[in-house]
């Protein structure tokens, strides 16, 4: 038993092993990677045609920007949310159905690291995918983003990421406990995304949606990133957006980790961890 490292650092270093594992698994499904990118571009292509029907006057910014620029940011953030959440929910479920969850849980690895490790690849890949998507779409569809907005937009995205982790952890705890529920989680994600103004300006929705969007972390993140990438709003606006997101993300993440620990403890008490 020599050569083992202990403590928080050792636990954190295990995340590298999870990343490598999932990278190798994903690379073994090359077709899935290609189809994911094709779907993403097909979605952007559809919205590029829709943008020809939408007069810029309807977009926030009073005609200074196109619908394709508006919706590209929405697609990027909503896609990040959807993929991140889906992976968080399915990662533990997949470990359960593969039969590998118990194998992991008999190693000296904390439940939090197992959860985080199971999604670490996506936590890194999905933001990367989002940024690459924005860059490619801006080239292909001739969408011009404000260069000064890149860094603030990335920081807003970073402040938003823990919200997705937290929501995913809560959902994962629910699935671990009830074995089902991914449909309900998908609907919740859709409702949150749709009413955030990701695809359509909030002005088109009933009046009560706008106040909800102002406290919806997805809405806050999308509005903030649009302001940076399309409007070039500057650092002050970015910091205001980040200040709104950080507490929401922090609370959601803590709740998520707590819910997951409770769910794991329940499974150990009942002895049903390996049952799917």
């Amino acid at each position: 038993m020599t050569g083992t490292r202990s403590g928080a650092l050792a636990e954190a270093l295990k995340l590298g092993a999870f990343f490598r594992r999932d990278l190798l698994v994903r690379l073994s499904y090359r077709g899935a990677i290609v189809s994911d990118w094709i779907n993403l571009f097909a979605q952007a292509l559809v919205f590029s045609f829709v943008s020809k029907l939408v007069h810029p006057i309807h977009i926030n910014g009073g005609g200074r920007t196109s619908y394709i620029a508006f919706v590209t940011v929405g697609i990027a953030v909503a896609g990040f949310m959807a993929v991140g959440l889906a992976r968080l929910v399915s990662a533990i479920q997949q470990e359960q159905s593969l039969g590998t969850l118990e194998s992991l849980m008999v190693t000296p690895t904390t439940a939090s690291v197992v959860l985080l490790g199971s999604v670490i690849y996506d936590l890194i890949y999905v933001p990367f995918r989002t940024v690459i998507f924005l860059i490619i779409v801006s080239i292909v569809f001739n969408v011009s983003f404000a260069a000064s907005g890149y860094i603030p937009a990335l920081l807003i995205l970073a402040a938003f990421i823990p919200f997705v982790w937290g929501l995913g952890s809560i959902a994962s705890a629910g699935v671990l406990t009830f074995r089902r529920g991914s449909g309900a989680i998908g609907f919740l994600a859709f409702a949150l995304t749709f009413t955030s103004g990701a695809y359509f300006p909030l002005a088109l929705f009933p009046s009560w949606v706008a106040p909800l969007a102002s406290i919806n972390p997805i809405g806050i993140a999308i509005t903030g990133m649009r302001a940076q990438l399309i409007g070039g709003a500057g650092w002050h606006d970015a910091l205001v957006t980040i200040a709104k997101l950080v507490p929401l993300s922090g609370i959601t993440l803590l709740l998520g980790l707590y819910a997951f620990r409770l769910a794991m403890r329940r499974e150990r008490r009942l002895g049903t961890l390996g049952l799917y």
Binding site: M1, G3, T4, R5, S6, A10, E11, L13, K14, G16, A17, R20, R21, L24, V25, S28, Y29, L98, G99, T100, E102, S103, L104, M105, V106, T107, P108, T109, T110, R268, R269, L270, G271, L273, G274
Partner: protein
């Protein structure tokens, strides 16, 4: 409980010490005061019919499940209090088939699980390679686990359980579904690991594989310990021994008169019963005090010719069935 031996392992030096372990699921009591102590270098077999509580007990030993009562320690560490520390000292061989990542190679799988013990990748790879050779998978190091046969996956499970040289090895149905050669290989490996000082808990339903293999036996039935002792002690618990006989008279199959004469010659030493409608085949159940040779000689003296005599169950199997309530 009909025995108290721990199979020669000194309880004071037990690497695994489980005392009075209880556990229920709802109203069903699954474990009722189960004890097990295994010393370094000893192989302790855990027997029991389906539903006896073996797997529940193993899950408590590995910290996957919490006991409601009692105490389990591994290498002096309380599993209930500090499961993370205890797991560093346990290698677990699960009975389930699918416990690996099928898209990864055997080597990558083992390296991944090695890193879950906090070791660096290079060390994990070195350990993984060594264990893959030990279990005879050196030709399949880079092959995807999804392409492994059932027997290869079992051997990979063994390699994973041994990866960190644990002082306690918990093995759940290792030979289930293996061909005789594969089963022998796993047993040989276990024997050599035990010889190096590892305490082994070996769960099985293949009774005859523990003869000459396990140092101690614990029989569980409906969550209770019904026997603890050595394999030899367990065989002594055998009473009725069953044999399948082919009997004839000199010129014909046994008629009712000849059958009655044979039964009378047997007396209180056992029972003789025809098997189905067959006129030649009989089942002979001998009591503990009966001597098979004498019985066969007495049957011959009545004019019955014994064409064949085959033992139907081993003493181990007889003992096991006697100690457990399941008769299926």
């Amino acid at each position: 409980m009909t025995g108290s031996s721990s199979g020669g392992a000194n309880p004071l030096s037990a690497v695994l010490d489980a005392r009075d372990v209880t556990r229920s699921f709802g109203d069903k009591q699954v474990l009722s005061g189960v004890d097990l102590r295994v010393g370094a270098g000893r192989i302790s077999a855990l027997l029991g019919p389906n539903g006896a509580g073996k797997t529940t007990f193993l899950r408590i030993l590995t910290g996957l499940l919490l006991a409601e009562g009692g105490h389990v320690s591994v290498a002096g560490i309380d599993v209930g209090q500090d499961p993370m520390a205890a797991r560093r000292h346990i290698g677990f061989f699960p009975s389930a088939d699918r416990t690996f990542y099928n898209r990864l190679s055997g080597l990558e799988n083992l390296a991944f699980f090695g890193r879950m013990y906090g070791i660096r990748r290079q060390e994990a790879l070195a350990r993984a390679r060594k264990r893959l050779v030990d279990v005879g998978l050196s030709d399949a190091v880079d092959q995807r686990v999804g392409l492994y046969s059932h027997g290869m996956q079992k051997r990979l499970s063994m390699a994973r359980a041994l990866l960190m040289d644990p002082p306690v090895l918990v093995i759940d149905e290792a030979t289930d579904g293996l061909d005789p050669e594969g089963a022998r290989r796993v047993q040989d490996l276990t024997r050599s690991i035990a010889a190096d000082g590892t305490a082994v808990i070996w769960t099985t339903q293949r009774l005859d594989e523990i003869r000459g293999f396990a140092d101690a036996v614990t029989v569980l039935d409906q969550g209770r310990t019904t026997f603890q002792g050595t394999v030899e002690d367990l065989m002594l618990k055998s009473s009725a021994r069953g044999y399948l006989l082919r009997l004839r008279t000199a010129d014909a199959t046994l008629d009712d008169d000849a059958s009655r004469r044979a039964a009378a010659a047997l007396g209180d030493r056992g029972k003789l019963a025809r098997v189905g409608t067959d006129r030649e085949h009989f089942r002979l159940d001998l009591e503990e005090h009966a001597v098979l040779g004498e019985v066969l000689a007495d049957l011959s003296a009545t004019g019955v010719v014994v064409l064949d005599c085959a033992q139907q169950r081993s003493e181990l199997e007889e003992s096991f069935l006697r100690l457990t309530t399941a008769r299926t």
